[in-house]
């Protein structure tokens, strides 16, 4: 699998992502500056976390118009894989690759803590190394992770099985307490209809090493590496 990480000005989790990808694939991903315009030979494009353009105006709004984004959209349209994490998820929704938007956290405070995600389906390239219904622990760190979409969009996402992860108790129960940022229907991540674009708020890339407290995030990268092995 050849992965590329897009570097927008203000992004800050690109190195974390590179470490996690290298651990899974055995080689370094390509770092792509946002003013570049080609993604030739890339299987997976990752839009990492951070504060692109300082989160000014709206999180992800300006990065969504960067030169590289036209190519990211073409890549997705060709059936290429795209993953947006945290700010990357915000950029993906602003760019219209996935529906909905990320609003200020319900409590109006930045939330940096571990949360638990429930895996809604395991038959995708992103989730193949998890079990459906299992929960895993993962750090989150965001001020604007409160997922919202129109009722029709939410119903469609659920109806078509496009919800990837939901905030849950370790037991798998979907509670308000587990849904710290107030997301609609506890949604933490969603897929595109072809299951090849994933957006999610928490950071699996920060939990891939036992020294950092666990490896719950690692199956996501291992699964991708296995599914996209050329």
């Amino acid at each position: 699998m050849q992965a590329a990480i897009v570097v927008f000005p203000g992004i800050n989790r690109e190195r974390d992502m590179a470490i996690a990808l290298e651990l899974a694939t055995g080689h370094k991903p390509r770092m792509v500056w946002h003013k570049e315009t080609t993604l030739d030979g890339i299987d997976l494009v990752v839009l990492p976390g951070g504060f692109s353009y300082g989160d000014y105006l709206r999180c992800g709004a300006m990065a969504a118009h960067s030169p590289i984004m036209a190519e990211v959209k073409r890549h997705a349209a060709r059936g290429g894989y795209v993953m947006g994490v945290c700010n990357g998820f915000q950029i993906i929704t602003e760019a219209g690759l996935l529906p909905g938007a990320l609003l200020r956290n319900a409590g109006l405070r930045f939330l940096s803590m571990d949360c638990h995600l429930r895996v809604e389906r395991a038959d995708t390239a992103f989730t193949g190394h998890y079990q459906q219904g299992q929960t895993f622990r993962v750090p989150m760190a965001h001020g604007d992770g409160n997922y919202t979409a129109s009722t029709e969009d939410l119903d469609r996402l659920e109806g078509e099985g496009l919800v990837a992860f939901r905030y849950a108790e370790p037991s798998g129960a979907l509670t308000t307490a587990a849904n710290r940022n107030g997301s609609a229907r506890n949604i933490a991540g969603i897929f595109s209809p072809n299951l090849r674009v994933l957006g999610l708020m928490p950071h699996p890339e920060d939990l891939v090493d036992p020294l950092m407290g666990g490896t719950d995030g690692k199956p996501l990268f291992d699964g991708l590496a296995a599914a996209l092995a050329a």
């Binding site: 000005p9 989790r13 974390d16 300082g54 930045f110």
Partner: protein, 733 residues
């Protein structure tokens, strides 16, 4: 523009003597801009005129010290050809006036001090002191400061991994916001600020200059009066996005050979950066302000020289590398302007609109800066508190202590700081006595902590200064790290009062003694004086930031108990209750001498504990500090969700003194192999005693009283969320 005379000089914060000195140096009446330059360079903040004579007595050398005080930050070798670059700095006064921006720009400023030397910042910490939670203003200040630290640190992508928070009424009108940054660089790629190369271009990069923060350095050097609300326009606004770009652009440029010297524009902005760079290099500098990127129209030379607009750097470049540098900064959408050149005149010459606005000889500006040997008065020793009776019992006292503002859970704060960005945080806030951050791609890790116990310093400044240094050393040791060096942030009251200057001098004396005994020098620091409001001083607060190294991050131990372990107390327990939190929270008394610090025992006990950790005899470790033994047990139990059963105290010591005394130099270890540990302790003459075992979900006290972990946790977690949920007026940011 106003007439330059003694009255104006006084308005600028210069005394009559100091103004006379300006006249003598210049041989004429200075221009308005020149007077501005003198006033900021000779402010307490830039000149250290009251503190310098004492700071010089601190030990600053060790074989691993590469650069001690005098550079932008301290530099120590940590192995693998790498250096840790670190410093702590205060932003107290701005944080009182505008808590969010004051704290945010404090973080921004200390980050620049570190990356200007070539280091990638890898960790932020802080040391915060706030007023009485019941004071109407405190909540807004806490909320703003925490949001400001998070807002800036989270955005630049440097994890905030540690810190400390105290409350005391003495900080009601003067909170302390001390921010620390740690960065990593190769030992042979460290950048300094001494300018060189006659004719070399002087380059300005970063944000544009506006009218913000003019006279911030002098504001930081005067007491707050009732009119400080009106000083609001001088507060700077931070832009963490530009700071992030500046970090990346500077590090990219530093990978080339373009930079001769580099310095951030901090307090007193363009003035202090240009004066210090030229002064340190023994050269002259000429600036043409017409080329300074400006945010507002019609700025005067005075305003540009004194502006404290944030996120700006000044560099001297090799002339043949100007184009490379320009291309890098343009890539990152940052301003890049050649605003002058290095000269051989030994003078700073400032031109604007073709007129020379300032022309000052640099040597006398530095050499003849005022230096005061201010009178000192020693703090009277506190009489011992005498015997105390326990009015409420151990259980009630513990529940009260773990819930009090100084000991309760800090999760409400740390949950707002991104502590994991970078993917190298081995021990997050609350997981261990010190934060542990691994170096990317290596086994090696840094251990980091900030500590000070201001009530001890108030009661006995020398012991308090010693204790602050020793506590950081102990916290680093408790995770298994080898302590290397400290940065200090000296927060004190008005230095013209002998009792305040006496506190300062004695605290330095105690710190120096601890640094020497522990082989633990001071490599950087900052002084913040005049921390008083309307004549009432803060508790003297020499906040210490400690840095240690672990050869292998996997050796680091945390606080969390697991079942089936034995608890062993290392160090001697006499049951010292003077100045303890038990005395304050249970009996309402802030009295007595602080616990004595035996530096030889501190060193022996610490070296023993570290060795035990590194030989894998330790499952968890916690130093004993505020609240003493029982609070330490409770904290370890809560961290590991594992209970403990405690033995009765030895004969001859009252239970409350045993469990809540704050004797120094002690550690609580949880071990699987108590036998071996105790044997080793005996053979090295280290006081060690088994005090209990772990398991279950209750804390069982001698005599059989049980406290469930869930009730402990509820008390521990309660304060911040309840306090903050009482709605208050400001929902912005």
């Amino acid at each position: 523009m106003k007439q330059v005379n003694q009255a104006l000089a006084a308005e600028f914060g210069l005394s009559a003597d100091e103004y006379q000195r300006v006249l003598d140096i210049m041989g004429r009446t200075p221009s308005f801009t020149e007077l501005g330059v003198f006033s900021v360079m000779w402010s307490e903040h830039c000149s250290y005129k009251s503190s310098r004579v004492w700071l010089k007595t601190l030990p600053t050398k060790a074989p691993w010290v590469i650069h001690g005080p005098g550079e932008n930050a301290g530099v120590v070798a940590i192995g693998d050809g790498l250096a840790a670059i670190f410093k702590m700095e205060s932003h107290n006064h701005p944080s009182f006036i505008e808590p969010y921006q004051g704290a945010a720009t404090g973080v921004g400023g200390i980050l620049r001090d570190v990356f200007t030397m070539g280091a990638r910042p890898v960790a932020n910490l802080n040391a915060l002191r706030f007023g009485d939670p019941k004071h109407p203003r405190t909540k807004r200040i806490v909320d703003g400061v925490v949001r400001g630290i998070g807002g800036y640190g989270n955005c630049v992508g440097v994890p905030t991994v540690g810190g400390e928070v105290n409350f005391h009424p003495s900080y009601n009108g003067n909170p302390l916001v001390n921010a620390m940054t740690v960065g990593i660089a190769a030992t042979d790629k460290i950048f300094l600020s001494a300018a060189a190369g006659i004719g070399n271009p002087v380059v300005y990069v970063g944000s544009k200059t506006g009218r913000d923060g003019i006279h911030g350095a002098t504001m930081a050097s005067t007491e707050f009066g009732a009119d400080s609300e009106e000083k609001r326009p001088t507060v700077q606004v931070g832009d963490p996005f530009v700071e992030k770009l500046l970090i990346e652009a500077c590090l990219e440029l530093m990978a080339t050979d373009a930079i001769v010297a580099i310095q951030d524009m901090g307090a007193a902005g363009l003035t202090s950066s240009s004066v210090e760079m030229a002064g340190k290099g023994g050269v002259g500098i000429e600036l043409d302000l017409d080329h300074v990127p400006q945010r507002e129209p019609n700025m005067s030379a005075y305003e540009m020289m004194l502006s404290e607009s944030q996120e700006r750097m000044l560099m001297v470049l090799r002339p043949d590398r100007e184009d490379i540098a320009r291309a890098i900064f343009e890539k990152w959408d940052l301003d890049f302007a050649v605003i002058g050149h290095i000269t051989d005149t030994g003078r700073i010459v400032v031109k604007h609109n073709g007129v020379v606005e300032a022309d000052i000889p640099l040597d006398p500006l530095a050499d003849q800066a005022p230096l005061y040997h201010r009178p000192t008065a020693e703090t009277a020793k506190q009489p011992p508190i005498g015997p105390t009776a326990d009015p409420i019992g151990l259980e009630a006292a513990l529940l009260k202590l773990v819930g009090c503002p100084d000991l309760c859970s800090r999760a409400w704060i740390t949950d707002q700081y991104d502590s994991t960005v970078g993917g190298q945080t081995v021990k997050r806030p609350g997981a261990a006595d010190a934060a542990v951050v691994r170096l990317e791609g290596l086994k090696r890790a840094l251990a980091l902590t900030t500590d000070c116990t201001p009530r001890y310093v108030q009661a006995d400044p020398e012991i308090g200064g010693m204790q602050a240094v020793a506590e950081t050393w102990r916290n680093l040791t408790a995770v298994g790290a080898r302590p290397l060096a400290i940065t200090d942030n000296m927060n004190f009251g008005n230095p013209t009062k002998p009792e305040i200057m006496g506190q300062f001098a004695s605290a330095i004396k105690g710190m120096a003694a601890a640094c020497i005994a522990l082989d633990y020098p001071v490599v950087s620091g900052n002084v913040s004086l005049y921390n008083e409001t309307e004549g009432r001083g803060i508790l003297p607060t020499p906040a210490i930031g400690g840095l240690g190294v672990l050869d292998d991050a996997a050796d680091a131990v945390g606080l969390a108990l697991k079942p089936g372990l034995t608890l062993v107390l290392i160090g001697e327990t006499r049951g010292h209750l003077g100045q303890s939190l038990w005395l304050r929270e249970i009996l309402g008394r802030e009295e007595g001498p602080p616990p004595p610090v035996d530096l030889a025992a501190e060193r022996r006990n610490g070296d023993f504990v570290r060795h035990q950790i590194l030989t894998a005899n330790v499952a968890a470790c916690h130093d004993l500090a505020d609240g003493g033994l029982l609070v330490a047990v409770a904290e370890m139990a809560m961290a590991g969700q594992t209970g403990a059963t405690l033995n009765p105290p030895p004969a001859g010591i009252a239970p409350h003194a045993w469990f809540f005394g704050e004797d120094q130099g002690r550690y609580l270890i949880a071990t699987r192999a108590p036998g071996a540990l105790l044997v080793a302790a005996v053979s090295e003459d280290i006081p060690a005693i088994e005090i209990g075992t772990t398991g279950g979900s209750d804390l069982t006290l001698p005599g059989g009283v049980t406290i469930s972990l869930s009730s402990l946790q509820a008390e521990h977690a309660r304060f911040f969320p309840e306090w903050m949920d009482q709605t208050h007026g400001d929902a912005s940011h």
